[in-house]
């Protein structure tokens, strides 16, 4: 059986990387072979200590553009030395840079080949943020629009088939309740769907827990006490209430929405139990949606 791919996207700061870690960890705990890919070639190495304490110590596979381009060329020519000869040529590099969609096509080819080598399993792609998510997936079309023949056109067609196969490739759109807009999320999902990419249920990430009942909330808001404890609690629970209304809004649009709680003590004071619970829930929902 072939690998399944999850393409995670959403606005900057919505927690794509964290979500990719949770999903990879959850799937691994279910016994699936998992690869997590980062398309950001400058990895955020500094936070690995924290991740380790949360029990999420996985190193993503980083995109190496040079190697990926060589891979693509080698697959186009079936002869490695021709690829090497081309890569030595500055003219080829200039063409590769000037021709639109080629860089993106190289990235997609790399993703596809990584999945092919993994075989049965899950490839979790920590993708680009919303503005650039569609551009990457559109590249096979861009290339096909410019070149309808040649090896590159064949490669682009093959990628289009992968992207539009809902049993193999799905997008996962993430948002935080602080930065949530139903319209924007829909637009992004639609934009990806127009490229043939099927969506997984939307994810709402970093949701504050609402601890107060309505009477307590009313009291918190009215209490004429500017003690820091009260002020902080009011800020926290008002935020939680706003988040609750965002959940309602999202769930009325899509009953399958996945809610991931804000993990307090992210710097490591807390054992990773909450993170593990979130990982298991998330991976269960994602894998369930595939089959």
């Amino acid at each position: 059986m072939a690998a399944r791919f999850v393409y995670i996207t959403g606005k900057g700061g919505c927690g794509k990387t964290h979500l990719s870690e949770l999903l990879a960890e959850g799937a691994r705990r279910r016994g699936l072979p998992v690869l997590r890919l980062s398309l950001d070639d400058r990895s955020r190495t500094g936070d690995s200590n924290i991740r380790a304490r949360q029990g999420l110590a996985t190193t993503p596979l980083l995109l190496d553009r040079g190697a990926a381009l060589r891979d693509l060329l080698a697959s186009l020519f079936r002869l490695g030395f021709i690829a090497d000869r081309l890569l030595d040529s500055s003219s080829f590099k200039a063409v590769a840079e000037a021709a639109p969609g080629v860089g993106e096509l190289v990235t997609l080819t790399w993703i596809e080949r990584v999945g092919y080598r993994l075989g049965k399993g899950l490839v979790v792609i920590d993708g680009p943020s919303s503005g650039h998510a569609a551009a990457l997936l559109r590249s096979p079309r861009t290339v096909l629009g410019l070149a309808s023949s040649g090896a590159i056109a064949r490669a682009a067609r093959k990628l289009e088939q992968l992207l539009s196969d809902p049993r193999r490739f799905r997008s996962l759109v993430v948002a935080t309740p602080e930065d949530f807009s139903l319209n924007e999320s829909r637009l992004l999902t639609t934009e990806l769907a127009e490229l043939g990419v099927a969506a997984l249920p939307p994810v709402l990430n970093a949701v504050y827990p609402l601890h107060a009942d309505p009477a307590q909330l009313a009291w918190l808001e009215q209490a004429a006490n500017d003690d820091q404890t009260l002020v902080g609690a009011r800020w926290h629970q008002q935020r939680a209430r706003r988040h609750a209304s965002v959940i309602e809004q999202l769930e009325s649009a899509d009953r399958n929405a996945i809610v991931i709680p804000f993990l307090f003590g992210g710097n490591g004071q807390q054992p990773g139990n909450e993170a593990m619970a979130a990982a298991e829930r998330l991976s269960g929902r994602v894998l369930g949606a595939f089959s």
Binding site: I152, E184, P209, A215, Q216
Partner: protein, 383 residues
């Protein structure tokens, strides 16, 4: 006269940079508003295709042309004004092609039309990913040259790495210097002109291989695009260099915005190093969206609940404050680490709810930030 000439009347430049989701756009808008209220003529430009800046300023939409923001009745004698715009990559590209084709002795307006009709040009111009950085420099040059502004505030997009933006002039220059351009412009002469038979044979083989990958049609279009475009690139490089100089010469600085999380701080510190290495000035780091409660070493303080508190409030306060305590402790650790690394106090900005389009919220946010002159004075410069 070049906009980068010393002594030329020039605008101040502030570039907001940082990871996605840290609140750059809102802070850029707040800073621009504050400066305009203090009497400056301010343009705030976003490079982000998402409508965040328009939302923050309560504008329907933003375009390539600066739009006035209604900041209310100006005070007596206040000549300040605030305009906002969004980088339109392909519009700026088209204007540049028109202007340069018109200037050039070797090209003419039909060259401009030919370039704009080339499908490769259209795809390149429309792709914010590959053209964004170059066009950001071109647009900044236009704004600086216009002499309409005392201050230009730039809001960089989340997905665009500062490195990509800042290395644009050098990359462009490097491309210009490759033999590839000459090869595509006139393969036969380029190959024959310089050097050996081997070089000529190599060039022919390479082009043949490229054609096999791309198909003949695409190669032809790329070649014709590069042929027409090569003539303009020198001017494009020069203007980019001008802006680079402006950015590196006082009074300009980068304002780096970070969340008080370890990951965000690491990314911001790395970006700061990179900017300093390139010789730019960097203001103290803004720690944005801080939890509005000072971290107390003593943990949760005891308070007297009034008699009218509903049942369970004591436990509620304890639970919520325990969570907040964890958050504040994390934030304190992170800000301390930033201060250690930068030898400067972070600019602390609390997590204020800013309603879209509410300029009074933006003004409140602006009040938390230092005045423009203090901000510029606090900036440190790389060697």
């Amino acid at each position: 006269m070049s906009v980068a000439d010393p002594g030329a009347a020039r605008p101040r430049l502030l570039v907001f940079a940082g990871e996605g989701g840290v609140g750059k756009t809102t802070l850029a808008a707040a800073t621009a508003l504050k400066a305009s209220l203090s009497g400056l003529r301010v343009a705030v430009m976003t490079i982000d295709p998402a409508p965040r800046l328009a939302d923050a300023l309560g504008l329907e939409r933003l375009g390539d042309e600066p739009l006035p923001v209604d900041t209310g009745e100006p005070g007596p004698g206040n000549t300040g004004s605030l305009y906002a715009l969004r980088l339109d990559t392909s519009g700026t590209f088209d204007r540049m092609v028109d202007r340069l084709a018109g200037d050039s002795m070797t090209a003419n307006s039909s060259a401009a039309e030919r370039i704009k009709a080339n499908p490769v040009y259209q795809a390149v111009a429309a792709s914010t990913g590959s053209s964004g950085p170059y066009m950001a420099f071109q647009r900044l040059h236009e704004l600086a040259e216009s002499k309409l502004w005392d201050l230009i505030v730039v809001d960089t997009p989340p997905a665009l790495h500062a490195e990509e933006l800042l290395s644009a002039p050098s990359r462009l220059a490097a491309l210009l210097e490759t033999r590839a351009v000459a090869l595509l412009v006139d393969p036969a002469r380029a190959a024959a002109g310089r050097g050996s038979r081997l070089a000529r044979a190599t060039a022919t083989v390479v082009l043949g291989l490229v054609e096999r990958v791309t198909g003949a049609a695409l190669l032809g279009q790329v070649s014709s695009f590069v042929t027409d475009f090569a003539r303009m690139m020198e001017n494009m490089v020069e203007r980019s260099r001008d802006v680079e100089t402006l950015l590196a010469t006082p009074p300009s600085c980068f304002v780096l915005v970070s969340r008080a999380s370890a990951a965000s701080a690491n990314a911001t510190l790395a970006l700061r190093e990179e900017l300093l290495d390139r010789g730019f000035a960097v203001a103290p780091i803004v720690a944005n969206r801080l939890t509005p409660r000072p971290a107390t070493a003593a943990g949760v303080p005891k308070i007297d609940l009034s008699a009218d508190a509903p049942p369970g409030c004591a436990q509620l306060l304890e639970r919520v404050n325990a969570e907040l305590g964890l958050l504040c402790q994390d934030e304190a650790e992170v800000t301390a680490r930033i201060e250690d690394a930068t030898h400067a106090a972070v600019l602390r900005v609390e997590d204020l709810a800013v309603e879209a389009g509410a300029l009074e919220d933006l003004a409140l946010l602006g009040a938390e930030l230092p005045d423009l002159d203090d901000l510029l004075a606090a900036a440190v410069r790389g060697e």
